[in-house]
């Protein structure tokens, strides 16, 4: 089982993801520099959080043209597992590997805090160890996490059960106060129809050790591991 963590100029959660895979989950993991031309035998690619290219112009708008992204696209279309976290999710959106767009948070401010998210679909490689409707405690840290897509796309996401996580309160209810950034349908994470690409705004790598306040994020990585080593 080997993970690959892509490093773009401006990524800053790459080391955090690397640490969780290598030292908490004790699995093999490499950094992959964004200018690399080839991806050799990885079981899961992680696009980490951060401010690739300083978030200039639009979040992820420039990183999506990095040389490695052609390979990631091919890898994903062949069914390889790809998880985009925060800025990684934004890059997947700009690369049209996932539908929709991230707008500025409703309150226009950067928000860094623990939130609750609810597992909407536990039949993906990323969520198969969860119960449906399970409430997780995972932190967010972003200024553009306000998910938006046209009505048609939202309907399609619902119909194909591509909404994987929704923001909610501690009991799992979709109360307005529990939506930190104004996301349509309380969306915190979605996957593609093939279920092998996941984009999520909360940071699972920041919730993988009890010492840091929650271990719920670790279960996402464990789900990936369990779905690969059959």
């Amino acid at each position: 089982m080997k993970f690959g963590v892509v490093v773009f100029p401006g990524s800053n959660c790459d080391e955090d993801c690397f640490y969780v895979i290598k030292y908490v989950l004790k699995k093999r993991v490499d950094f992959i520099w964004h200018k690399e031309k080839r991806l050799n035998n990885y079981d899961c690619i992680i696009l980490p959080g951060g401010f690739s290219y300083g978030d200039y112009l639009r979040t992820g708008a420039i990183a999506r043209f990095s040389p490695i992204m052609k390979e990631v696209e091919k890898y994903a279309l062949d069914g390889g597992l790809v998880i985009g976290i925060c800025n990684g999710f934004q890059i997947l959106l700009e690369a049209n590997l996932l539908p929709g767009v991230m707008l500025r948070n409703k309150n226009l401010k950067f928000i860094s805090k623990f939130v609750n998210i609810r597992v909407e679909n536990n039949l993906t490689p990323f969520t198969r160890l969860f119960q449906k409707g399970e409430v997780l405690k995972i932190p967010i840290a972003h200024i553009e996490g306000n998910y938006y897509a046209e009505k048609r796309v939202i309907e399609e996401l619902k119909r194909n059960n591509q909404i994987v996580f929704r923001y909610c309160d501690e009991e799992g209810n979709l109360r307005n106060e529990a939506n930190p950034n104004g996301s349509r349908e309380f969306i915190a994470g979605i996957c593609n129809k093939g279920r092998n690409i996941l984009g999520m705004m909360p940071h699972p790598e920041r919730a993988a050790e009890a010492l840091l306040g929650s271990e719920d994020g670790k279960v996402i990585f464990q789900s990936i591991i369990s779905s690969v080593s059959f």
Binding site: A61, E94, K106, Y148
Partner: protein, 83 residues
């Protein structure tokens, strides 16, 4: 050498949290006649080119490829030759 001015704005119907906040701020500064505010980007380029049409072609490509997100943004531009 040509000077290009690109105006990028959000499509109708797309939520504009920034525009709304600015409108409220103007309202609180007593500019109550403001009905609507839409936030957008204004990009100025200097670009070498043979002729205006050639530059026009390039500008459209750059907008569609990188500068504009077609899902939520539309754009217009003006091109001016610098002597």
């Amino acid at each position: 050498m040509f000077k290009v001015k690109i105006y990028i704005s959000l499509k109708k119907g797309v939520a504009d949290p920034e525009g709304i906040t600015i409108k409220d701020a103007l309202y609180s500064l007593n500019y109550k006649e403001v009905e609507e505010v839409r936030m957008g980007k204004y990009i100025q380029l200097k670009i070498e080119g043979v002729d205006k049409d050639g530059v026009k072609e390039k500008v459209n490509q750059m907008c569609q490829k990188l500068l504009v997100n077609p899902l939520i943004e539309e754009y217009s531009y003006q091109i001016e030759e610098l002597k």
